[in-house]
């Protein structure tokens, strides 16, 4: 067990890569597709099971980084250091949980160039785990940016009709935000003399410097999340990406923005966070209201869900920047919930798209008659997205609202409009797709979900209800780390006030 203890995180990253290498060695050609799928599935399942060991072995009472591995690398201080704390643990689990589902979702759907497809996904999984586990800021940046390459290829090769535009937009938009972050990182590293994230979290940067550093990081994370007004890449990317690409994009890649705020902006730039908090609140509320209204008028169901993602991320940023325990825990919970729920929603879109090859809502209607099981699943996930109690969405939203109310009742009011608007467009979607008269012939002919699709839905439903009914399993690891984050933040801010008073 000790080998696992000391190297678990690296193993989690290496196993997908080993899977990719195996797939690389498989002979090209349609006949080998079955083998490729099996290898990919085994790799991701093994990774998931190992990550459960990570969860089981995690000490909920400690706010320190656990499962830390450190190897000196090069330069003055750059090391390969990985570790998880309460905040990053669940993101790693989210990643490893979604990947097998994503892989299975591609069976029978993707045949063209399957080898490269699976390799891209496995490499992406390794990089995503690396983002959440990295404890060296150089390493973090490498993983953060490195994930752009496989995603670019996934959207561009296996995507929809306008995929090239979408993949360019995704890549260049995200890259532009991130290079500003690079400059900020370089400045921080030269100032603090270290690239270690824990050390940087304890280093006190000049208040004026903090402002522009915070903003540079914000440029990157706001695009990633995405926040209004830099969210415009997301609808295009989602609509053009293949179903599996959308699932992983919405499920995990978007969470990196929120994770970035929690890992970098809050602990490393405490004064600037307070300074910009109102700014973020305004942007978030605009995001929630505006994108919800835009979602309401969408005809393409994938675009509708994409805009709803932006709205949900608005909730998350509110939760993060209210800077209290409920808000931050709610934000993290919301991110986890959204990860599963939106992956499921995009998967549902994929299910009907595979049958009818259109994403126009008006082409459907009455699926509750001939696709009963699908209708049930779809309802569950849309209601989870809305935040119905007993589903995961409720817990996250309610915690964020409690936290927001402590910050300012206006913000809480603005955020709750998001809940209502969310219900509106989701019900419009549900009515358009599921309810109503079953008149169209081709819709009548659509078969209900088969065993494979059921196997993908089942774990996600289970998790959604688990998170909704017994959220403590997911909240417990968070408590210590979030409390530590807030205490450190408060201490830093109050000491700044001390200095200015004296």
């Amino acid at each position: 067990m000790t080998f696992l203890d000391t190297n678990l995180l690296s193993l989690l990253m290496i196993i997908p890569m080993i899977g990719a290498v195996f797939i690389w060695m498989v002979k090209s050609g349609e006949t080998m597709n079955g083998n490729i799928r099996i290898i990919a599935l085994i790799a991701t399942l093994v990774t998931f099971l190992l990550s459960l060991i990570l969860w089981a072995g995690f000490d909920n009472s400690s706010a320190d980084f656990q499962f830390v591995e450190r190897v000196t690398w090069f330069g003055d201080s750059i090391t390969y250091t990985v570790g998880v704390d309460g905040i990053s643990l669940l993101f790693v689990i989210l990643t490893t949980f979604l990947m097998p589902l994503v892989i299975v979702s591609t069976f029978e759907v993707v045949d063209k160039r399957l080898k490269e497809f699976m390799i891209a996904f496995l490499v992406l999984e390794a990089l995503m785990i690396g983002v959440f586990a990295a404890l060296d800021i150089f390493l973090f940046y490498v993983f953060f940016e490195g994930g752009l390459i496989p995603m670019f290829l996934i959207i561009g090769v296996w995507g929809g009709a306008n995929r090239i535009y979408a993949s360019y937009k995704f890549f260049l938009y995200t890259l532009l935000g991130s290079v500003f972050m690079l400059i900020a990182i370089l400045w921080m590293v030269s100032q603090a003399g270290t690239t270690s994230i824990p050390a940087l979290m304890n280093y006190h940067f000049d208040a004026s410097a903090q402002n522009w550093l915070w903003f540079a990081f914000f440029a990157s994370f706001a695009v990633k999340m995405p926040m209004w007004p830099v969210h415009t890449w997301l609808p295009d990317a989602h609509v053009q990406a293949p179903t599996s690409g959308s699932m992983i994009l919405a499920g995990v890649l978007l969470k990196m923005g929120g994770y970035g705020f929690l890992r970098f902006s809050l602990p490393m730039f405490p004064e600037a966070t307070v300074y910009f908090a109102d700014f973020v609140m305004i942007l978030s509320i605009i995001a929630i209201v505006y994108t919800s209204l835009v979602a309401l008028v969408q005809e393409d169901m994938k675009k509708l869900i994409a805009y709803s993602s932006v709205a949900h991320m608005g909730f998350v940023t509110i939760g993060i920047f209210v800077l209290n325990q409920q808000g931050i825990e709610g934000a993290i919970f919301q991110m986890l919930s959204h990860g599963v729920v939106s992956a499921a929603l995009f998967y549902s879109v994929g299910v009907v798209y595979d049958r009818l090859h259109t994403r126009e809502i008006s082409r459907y209607g009455g699926l509750s008659t001939n696709m009963k099981r699908f209708a049930i699943f779809f309802m569950i996930f849309t209601m989870a997205s809305v935040g119905l109690p007993a589903t995961s969405g409720f817990v996250g939203e309610v915690l964020v609202l409690f936290g927001a109310y402590e910050y300012s009742s206006w913000v809480a009011f603005g955020a709750s409009t998001g809940v209502v608007l969310g219900a509106t467009y989701m019900l419009v979607l549900v009515r358009g797709l599921i309810f109503g008269e079953l008149t169209k012939e081709d819709v009548k002919a659509m078969p209900d979900i088969n065993k494979r699709e059921f196997a993908i839905y089942a774990p996600m439903v289970a998790v959604v209800f688990w998170m909704g009914v017994y959220p403590n399993s997911f909240l417990d690891p968070l408590h210590a780390s979030v409390e530590n984050l807030i205490n450190q933040h408060d201490a830093a801010v109050s000491s700044m006030h001390q200095e200015t008073v004296e």
Binding site: S28, W73, F74, G75, R113, E116, L127, F138, Y141, V142, F143, F144, E145, G146, L148, I149, F152, L153, G156, V157, R163, I164, S167, Y168, F171, L172, L175, L176, V179, F180, L182, I183, L186, W187, V189, S190
Partner: protein, 484 residues
């Protein structure tokens, strides 16, 4: 002065090279059959042996000889090794192309050897006169190489353009040298530094001379505003020659540039820093924006190399030892990226002709996946996307810039690299997203495959775990040896 023989030991590699070049000339002339193959093989062996001698006999300290005109220090060893690697690789890659274009003549490896010799002299120059001598030896060889495919108009045009513009820039260089000599009384770098230190205020004559000198050198590295020869010459010259151009002379000239500024003009930092910043900004912007509309892949690479020179100049502009270290890491990685890319370009043949349009790469991922992946690695590396080696170079360069307070330069640098990422991505997009066109001829040259494979390996994330640490250590050692 008494007629003593100067200490030959530090210059042993160059002497070897010079004698070797002359021997090769004889071999080429007298070996009637197969003269190209024999000469090339011998030339590669010569350069490898010279490299060996260079690395083993250098003490790492600063050694002067030939009346202080020739210096050998860690910096010189590092950059000379890079140049030698570039030259050997160019020779490796050239065979098949030259045979197909029917220009397989033994003068080719000899010219490469003499050009390399010139570059080594440039890097080791400690006096304005030996600087000029090295530059001219290198340039004359390169002019002829550019026009090597003498039956094709494009090649002779390229050679002529290069020659005329190069001669003009050499003239500017000499003018600058003469001004510097006139106003300081010496051409030796160390003496110049002492002279300038002893000066009370700023000597306008020296500044003007320095600017002329820098202009002449800027031409050699194709930095803005003296970059305009590069796209035409790169496009017209035979592709292996272009590969050589993009790699070796750039490294040598940048190393020379660094040494001149660091050793001879350290006290005039404020004057030359501004000039370098201007050149760097211009190069990055030109390299990013002008490449967006290119359709010929060799021209694209020309602009790409202009952009990369801009980034390298940031390292010099920083004016610190960290800047030089960043520069050296950047150059080493740039070398591998460029050689790899040109090696892939060399495989682009269809029928009897070599094709150079970017659109000819359409769908390469379906006709030849390993090649497409290799080229993608190079493209992403050139763009500086993390997880590939090119990012490392950028990290060190920008770190040095930020530490030297050149924040605006760093910000413009990163923004231009995003712009440049567009056309690098476009190549990847064409290979992976577009419908395949007629496939290229099957590539037979083993040397080419070796270069492509090796470069791809070095640029891939594998390089992270193995190569970057020793490279950084070496660069650090080399940069420390340069007096600042």
């Amino acid at each position: 002065m008494s007629a003593e023989l100067p200490i030959l030991a530090p210059a042993m590699p160059e002497l070897f090279m010079a004698i070797g070049a002359m021997v090769l000339l004889m071999v080429g002339v007298f070996h009637k059959k197969d003269s190209y193959a024999v000469t090339t093989r011998l030339a590669m062996i010569l350069m490898i042996v010279v490299g060996f001698v260079l690395v083993t006999q250098s003490s790492g300290g600063r050694e002067l000889t030939f009346g202080n005109m020739f210096v050998s220090d860690g910096f010189a060893v590092f950059t000379k090794v890079l140049v030698l690697i570039a030259s050997v690789a160019s020779l490796f890659m050239a065979g098949q192309y030259l045979k197909d274009q029917k220009i397989e003549r033994f003068e080719y490896p000899i010219l490469i050897v003499t050009a390399t010799l010139g570059m080594m002299l440039m890097i080791s120059a400690n006096n304005l006169l030996s600087l000029y001598m090295g530059i001219e030896l290198q340039s004359l060889s390169l002019y002829v190489l550019a026009a090597f495919d003498r039956d094709r108009v494009k090649s002779t045009e390229a050679g002529l353009k290069y020659f005329v513009l190069g001669a003009l820039s050499s003239g500017m260089l000499l003018y600058g040298i003469s001004l510097i000599y006139g106003f300081s009384g010496t051409t030796d770098f160390d003496m110049l530094a002492l002279h300038i230190e002893a000066l009370d205020g700023m000597n306008m004559g020296l500044v003007v001379g320095m600017v002329f000198l820098m202009s002449g050198l800027a031409f050699k590295i194709s930095a803005v505003p003296f970059h305009m020869w590069a796209p035409d010459v790169y496009e017209g010259a035979p592709t292996p020659v272009t590969a050589f151009f993009a790699a070796a002379p750039k490294i040598a000239a940048i190393a020379l540039f660094t040494r001149v500024l660091a050793t001879a003009f350290p006290d005039m930092v404020h004057e030359w820093q501004q000039v370098i910043i201007f050149m760097s900004l211009g190069s990055m912007l030109v390299g990013a924006f002008f490449a967006l509309v290119q359709t010929n892949i060799k021209r694209l690479m020309a602009f790409s190399s202009i952009g990369h020179v801009g980034y390298a100049l940031i390292g010099i502009a920083a004016g610190t030892q960290a800047g030089i270290e960043g520069l050296l890491v950047y150059l080493a990685i740039y070398l591998t990226m460029t050689l790899g890319t040109f090696a892939v370009i060399l495989t682009m043949r269809r029928g009897a002709e070599s094709v150079e349009d970017i659109s000819d790469l359409s769908g390469l991922s379906e006709t030849n996946l390993p090649m497409a992946i290799a080229l993608s690695i190079f493209m992403f590396s050139l763009a500086g996307i993390p997880s590939l080696a090119g990012f490392f170079g950028k990290w060190f360069i920008f770190k040095a810039a930020v530490e030297a307070d050149l924040l605006a330069l760093a910000v413009i640098g990163v923004v231009t690299s995003v712009v440049a990422a567009y056309y690098y991505l476009r190549v990847v997009k064409i290979m992976f997203f577009d419908e395949p066109v007629e496939a290229f001829d099957k590539q037979k040259s083993k040397g080419l495959s070796l270069v492509i494979g090796l470069s791809a390996l070095i640029n891939s994330p594998v390089s992270y775990f193995i190569m970057i640490a020793p490279l950084v250590v070496l660069a650090s050692w080399a940069s420390k040896s340069l007096i600042f």
